[in-house]
């Protein structure tokens, strides 16, 4: 009887340890949660890829250092989430002057300069504080998405589903937070301290 009890307790203890490590100490249960927790614990630089915006200007992600940058990943044909993200950025542009807003398209097959331009116009991106961009070189896309931890999957209807979130880079260009875009007031509260520092 004691042996059975001992064995059952051992199993329970081992399972607790395994579950603890699988959930970062019972904090996260999804890959998205783990991605956000990892960034909070250990901020890191995104790869210094070259982007091209809606006006055809090329710039490196590096060149934005010294500013607080908010990045969303989108594709311009997206009827749902990206459109909502666009609206969020439009409101952020008014609420948080001084931040750089960057909408990066991962659909580089389809999104050329004209498509970026159209997305920018329909959401009110000015091309200065808010730029809609895409990686210039196709081979840069993978490392950029991997660096941010974004997974894009085809939805079977010619579109995509992807982690919808706002990625916050601090003044040193480090990815320090990954935030929900809803509710907006919480997002603004989260970003504001980084603007002061």
């Amino acid at each position: 009887m004691m042996r059975s009890l001992f064995l059952a307790l051992t199993v329970a203890v081992i399972a607790m340890a395994v579950f603890g490590s699988a959930t970062e100490g019972f904090r996260v249960f999804t890959t998205e949660g783990a991605r956000r927790y990892a960034v909070e614990q250990a901020p890191h630089q995104l790869p210094a890829v070259t982007l091209e915006d809606q006006d055809g200007r090329s710039f490196s992600l590096d060149s934005l250092q010294g500013r607080v940058v908010l990045i969303e990943f989108i594709y311009t044909r997206c009827p749902t989430v990206c459109s909502a993200l666009g609206d969020v950025f439009a409101r952020l542009a008014r609420a948080l002057p001084g931040t750089v807003l960057l909408s990066i398209s991962f659909d580089i097959e389809h999104d050329g300069r004209a498509e970026l331009r159209r997305y920018a116009d329909s959401h009110g991106a000015d091309g200065d504080e808010w730029r809609v961009a895409r990686p210039v070189h196709g081979q840069d896309l993978g490392p950029l998405l991997d660096g941010a931890g974004v997974v894009v999957i085809a939805d079977g209807w010619g579109g995509y589903q992807h982690n919808a979130a706002v990625h916050l880079l601090d003044r040193h260009g480090r990815l320090v937070r990954i935030l929900d875009f809803d509710p907006l007031s919480v997002l603004i509260d989260e970003v504001t301290p980084w603007l002061k520092s």
């Binding site: 059952a8 999804t30 949660g33 999957i153 589903q161």
Partner: protein, 198 residues
Amino acid sequence: MAEILNLIPSFRRIAMGAGLFLVLAAPSLREVLEQDMTRHMLIQLPFLVLAGWLLIPAAAASCRFVVIWDRFGIAGILTANLAAAYWMLPRSLDNAIALPVFEIAKFISLPLLVGVPLGCCWPRMPMLGKGFVMANVVSMLGIAGWLYLAAPVRVCVFYLSDQQEAVGRLLLCLAGAISLAVLFCAFVGFRPSAARTA
């Protein structure tokens, strides 16, 4: 000696278990099953468990070592329960797709830590224990199904939101079906032991 002989499984059973495992491990079938959340969770995972169940001989349940160390089969059922719960974490499911190490761990742990202990310990579990486990399985499936249906976001980065909803609905159906089966057994009175001796 008889005990050791009893431990040798019937050839057919072990061949079926090993065959099932190998078929599931075939790269083309793996890809097909893992492409879709429903197929991954409700076909591949249960069949891996079944492969483990088949691999263990019926006599193992009464083997002396097993009886001494796990008198009512509680530790075994606990192991099976917790190992299965691990693969119900959305993050584990994603990891199995993204990282080969986790995929291998899945293919080892589900037969070995869920199927084998289930086959070994379930027959020895007292009625009270069985009832407890069944009640938990039904409520766990129900809650998981409801969560998947109600979640405003995708829980797995590798699966689409409509697949998640389909899994949610199927989990709820499964919980309902198990409840009905239990009720049927309790009131209509299907007794496996009676059926065997008849």
